[in-house]
Every structure is written in structure tokens, then in C-alpha cells.
């Protein structure tokens, strides 16, 4: 059986010693899956262990429901196993302090992520809730609306037409404070980006981060440089950003 466990590229997660020993005794090898590539590309993974909650500098983070939702969509046959420390029982739950005697049997009878079951809440702040705050904002516009709004104004730009650029810049980019809105978007991203490595769609968040970083010089420059706009293909990236953000939002909202 191919068993993997979720780890993080920057701060590797180890399996709890008690579980590692039990797996060794059962002859089950568990390899780390360093989050950052799509888990669905890890061919043949039969069971994915999630040590829960994640321990972060800020506190404990419960990502069980989000991981289940993601796996159900992308690799429904993979069995998501929540490895917890609380005395609880439930489908696909391994209590580190009360492990089943026959681990092989446990894995064989575990439910695939695509089946209808709810992962055990092993404690910690609900990741989905934290992400919702990022996506929806604190009563302000959602992140998707913020990007769309910027794109709406930038899409009026014809980079080949210098005279028209000046008009669009004055009447739309400046008038609707597009550089300031972009700065707000960057601040919002920076505030929450600590959270992204724990998500199952971290690879998408990295893609979004790369695009934000790539086109930021144009907005940092207060949208003054028409050639920079063309060279960085700002509109193409804004369009792709809108698409990616909506895609990720579907896992969260």
C-alpha cells in the first residue's frame, strides 16, 4: 500500500513517533508528500495521512475538511486519514495515543475521500474560516471582485496608443485609484500568505503569488509606464489571476 503524509516544504512535518513505530511494526512505509505540487500528480497514493491540527507559529490550524473536499474532487479514490491527538472516534481517524492493533486492516477498510463522510475535528482554528475571511474580506469587496475591478479598468488600455493611454490613465486608472487598489490587494495577500502552505491548493496560490509579483512593478510605478504595461502583459496576467482566484475560491466558499 502506498501511504504518504502531508508535509510542508519550509517546515517539514514528521509523523508522531508513536505512529511511526506502529507503521514500522506493520511493515507500512509512509513517505512525506511535500505540499506545493498538486497531490493528484502523486500517482498511486492510496492513503494520505494528515497530522492534525497543523502547528503554526500563530496557533493550531484545522485543515481536515478542506483537504477532504479537495481530494474528493481531484483524487476521490485516495483515502484521507486524519492523524489526531484527541480522544475521538470517527471515520478514517487515527488517534495517535490509541492506535488500532491492526493498522493494515484499518487502511484497507478506510473510506476514500470521494465517499460521503465528514472528517473528525481534531482541534485548531478552522482553516476554511480563515481562508473565507481572506477571500471575502472584512465586509469589503471579495478578493475576486478586487482583481476584477482592477482588470475592468486596465482592460480599457490599448498599449499601442499613447494618446489614448494618457486619457485612460487620467479618467480611469487615476480616477478609480487603481494603483492604490493594487497596493491594497498586495497588503491583503501579504497578511494571509502565511496560511497558504497549509492548503491543498498551495500550488495554485504560488501561481497567483508569482503573477502578482510579476506585474506589481507596473502598479508600483503608479501605472505611468505604458511600455511596461505592454512588456509585462498586465492584462493577460490579470485575466489569468481572475481565473485562478475564482478556481481556488470554489474550494473555500
Amino acid at each position: 500500500m502506498k501511504v504518504r503524509y502531508v508535509s510542508l516544504p519550509a517546515t517539514p512535518v514528521n509523523l508522531p513517533g508513536l505512529l511511526q513505530k506502529a507503521l514500522d511494526r506493520a511493515g507500512i512505509a509512509a513517505e512525506a508528500f511535500a505540499n506545493g505540487v498538486p497531490v493528484e500528480t502523486e500517482a498511486g497514493t492510496e492513503a494520505l495521512l494528515l497530522v492534525s491540527p497543523f502547528l503554526t507559529e500563530r496557533g493550531s490550524l484545522n485543515g481536515n475538511a478542506l483537504w477532504k473536499r479537495y481530494l474528493a474532487q481531484h483524487c476521490p479514490q485516495t483515502k484521507l486519514i486524519v492523524v489526531g491527538f484527541k480522544k475521538k472516534s470517527g471515520i478514517n481517524y487515527l488517534d495517535v495515543f490509541d492506535l488500532p492493533e491492526n493498522l493494515s486492516h484499518f487502511f484497507e477498510t478506510a473510506q476514500p475521500a470521494g465517499a460521503d463522510w465528514q472528517p473528525v475535528d481534531a482541534g485548531g482554528a478552522e482553516m476554511q474560516q480563515e481562508l473565507r475571511t481572506f477571500f471575502l474580506g472584512h465586509g469589503n469587496e471579495s478578493i475576486a471582485e478586487a482583481v476584477s475591478d482592477i482588470f475592468k479598468h486596465c482592460s480599457l488600455i490599448d498599449p499601442a496608443d499613447a494618446a489614448d493611454y494618457a486619457t485612460v490613465k487620467t479618467n480611469f486608472l487615476d480616477c478609480y485609484a487603481v494603483p492604490q487598489k493594487w497596493a491594497g490587494l498586495q497588503r491583503r495577500w501579504a497578511k494571509y500568505e502565511w496560511l497558504f502552505p497549509y492548503t491543498p491548493f498551495y500550488h495554485l496560490m504560488q501561481e497567483i503569488a508569482a503573477k502578482i509579483s510579476y506585474i506589481s512593478p507596473y502598479f508600483d510605478n503608479k501605472c505611468t509606464d505604458r511600455e511596461q504595461f505592454a512588456k509585462l502583459e498586465v492584462n493577460k496576467h490579470l485575466f489569468e489571476l481572475t481565473f485562478l482566484i475564482n478556481k481556488v475560491g470554489k474550494y473555500v466558499l
Binding site: P16, G17, L18, L19, K21, P53, L55, T56, E57, R58, G59, S60, L61, F85, K86, K87, V96, F97, G123, G124, A125, E130, L195
Partner: protein
């Protein structure tokens, strides 16, 4: 919100012992009241204020070095859970807490006695919570007021939960040298001491009310995510339901520390989990990561 501190004359004025600030863009019922620590009769003044604002929920902050101790110096009825309003008391001190602008850009307390943080002391954190320098305009910024108001009542649940989960990780890596026979607590303490993250033991001491080690203080000074439990001992007065679970956990940890526990590892884990979970359950708020 009442904050007893060594307020500078630019905030309160030389002749006064307290003042009233409005909170921008909020109803007039939202008030920020700085009270001078040097006032010889704080007890009477605070009682008057609590009477005057008898319909208000109140958050009272006082310095941990103050001779004034609200749990002792405020009348019991203030904390009566049957009361239609809530009075909560929180301690601060040392400069490394959420209420300080040096730690939280939406904090309130700045350069000693002021509502702003000077550029000289922390160039990266030039922020201000209020416009006290312009004495005519006594207003606290809404975001700063709300940040502190929302954080303090809920902080201990998240902090205790975080520590509990860290402890669990260590427990899950520990196997008794004697198998599953009863273990002496010292084995476990030695194990924690030997871990890379030795602060776990320092946090235990902090939770026991034994003060903070230098290493813990250094860690808390360096970053925004605090490990100290120093002020929980005072703040627990606000949480009637949590008092007993807190005392139970402390008592158990004290026995652990004093090496009085000899029991099978599994029983020890269960005891510890039960006590931690009871405390986390009893503490108010949600587990949040801000």
C-alpha cells in the same frame, strides 16, 4: 475601555487624573478612558467610573507592576455573572503584548505614556492610535480600539489550545524507557528538556505562575506570537467557568513538576488531555489565529 497607565500629560493633562476619548466612527457609547497610575485614589475613581457607566460593558486594563490589583480592589459585584453588563480586567506590562503599538500596529499604547509610537524607538512601526497630541481632538482610532477590544477576551483560548497541541506532539514522540510500566514524571520532563524546542518546559512554568524564563521573554519580545501565560493567572478572574479547570490543570502540572506523579504513560496522557481540554472548553471565544 479604561486603561490605567503612566499617562503623559499630553494625553490627560497635567492637572487631571483621567480623561474621556471618543472612538472614531462609533456610537457615543464607545469610550476610551485613560486613568493615571499615579492617582493616589484610583480605587475610588475606578469605582465611580464603573458606576457612572453602569450600562456599559467595560474592559479595564492595568499594569502588572501596579500596586492596584482589580481582583482585590474592585467590589465583587462588579464581576457578578448575573449582572446585565460585563466587566473584564486584563493585565499588561513588559512592552511585548498586543496592546502595545510596538507589537501590534493596531495597538493602543505607544512610547511610554502616549498613544503613538515614536519613529526613533522603532522606525518600522511608526503608528498612532489616537490624536492626543492635538489636545482638542480626543479621539481613538476605531481600528485600534476594536483590535484590542476583540483580542483580549479571546486570547487565552487560542494560546492554551496552541500549547496543548504542542505538548501533544511531544507526548506522541515520547516512549517510556520502561515500556508501559508506571513512569516517573522526571523521564518526561527530561525528554522535554532535551527537545530542540526547550521552551515547552518554560511554558509549563509560565502556566504554573512561576514567572517567565529569560528564554521565553526573549522569544516573546522577538515576535508577535506570544508563548507566555504570565497574565492568565490575573485574567482568569474574568472567566468564572474556567477558574476550576485552570486550578485543576495547575495542580496536576505542579505534581508533574515536583515529580510526584508515577503512573503509566497512557494514564498520564489521558489525565493531561482531560485537564487541558476542560480548560480550553471553559475559556471563552473561538480559536483564532490573529
Amino acid at each position: 475601555m479604561i486603561v490605567v497607565w503612566r499617562w503623559h500629560k499630553s494625553v490627560i493633562g497635567e492637572q487631571n487624573y483621567h480623561d474621556h476619548f471618543e472612538v472614531e466612527n462609533t456610537p457615543k457609547t464607545h469610550l476610551f478612558i485613560p486613568v493615571k497610575e499615579s492617582h493616589s485614589d484610583k480605587k475610588q475613581l475606578l469605582e465611580k467610573l464603573l458606576q457612572k457607566y453602569a450600562d456599559h460593558d467595560v474592559m479595564l486594563f492595568f499594569h502588572d507592576k501596579s500596586e492596584y490589583q482589580p481582583p482585590r480592589d474592585l467590589p465583587d459585584e462588579v464581576f457578578d455573572p448575573r449582572s446585565h453588563r460585563t466587566v473584564q480586567v486584563f493585565t499588561f506590562g513588559g512592552g511585548s503584548e498586543f496592546i502595545y503599538l510596538s507589537q501590534n500596529e493596531y495597538g493602543i499604547l505607544g512610547t511610554p505614556g502616549r498613544l503613538w509610537h515614536s519613529q526613533e524607538s522603532r522606525p518600522d512601526r511608526c503608528s498612532k492610535a489616537g490624536d492626543a497630541e492635538d489636545y482638542a481632538c480626543k479621539v481613538i482610532k476605531k481600528a485600534h480600539f476594536e483590535s484590542v477590544w476583540n483580542y483580549y477576551p479571546n486570547q487565552w483560548k487560542a494560546k492554551t489550545d496552541k500549547f496543548y497541541h504542542r505538548l501533544n506532539r511531544y507526548l506522541a514522540d515520547f516512549t517510556s524507557p520502561d515500556g508501559d510500566t508506571p513512569i516517573a514524571a522526571k523521564h518526561l520532563l527530561n525528554h522535554w528538556r532535551q527537545q530542540k524546542d526547550a521552551l515547552i518546559k518554560d511554558q509549563l512554568d509560565s502556566l504554573l505562575g512561576n514567572g517567565d524564563s529569560e528564554a521565553l521573554k526573549k522569544q516573546d519580545d522577538a515576535g508577535p506570537w506570544k508563548l507566555s501565560f504570565k497574565h492568565l493567572e490575573m485574567d482568569i478572574i474574568n472567566y468564572k467557568d474556567a477558574k476550576q479547570p485552570y486550578a485543576n490543570l495547575q495542580s496536576y502540572l505542579r505534581q508533574l513538576k515536583e515529580n510526584k506523579l508515577t503512573k503509566p504513560l497512557e494514564a498520564f496522557r489521558t489525565d493531561l488531555q482531560t485537564r487541558f481540554e476542560a480548560l480550553i472548553e471553559a475559556l471563552p471565544g473561538e480559536i483564532f489565529l490573529r
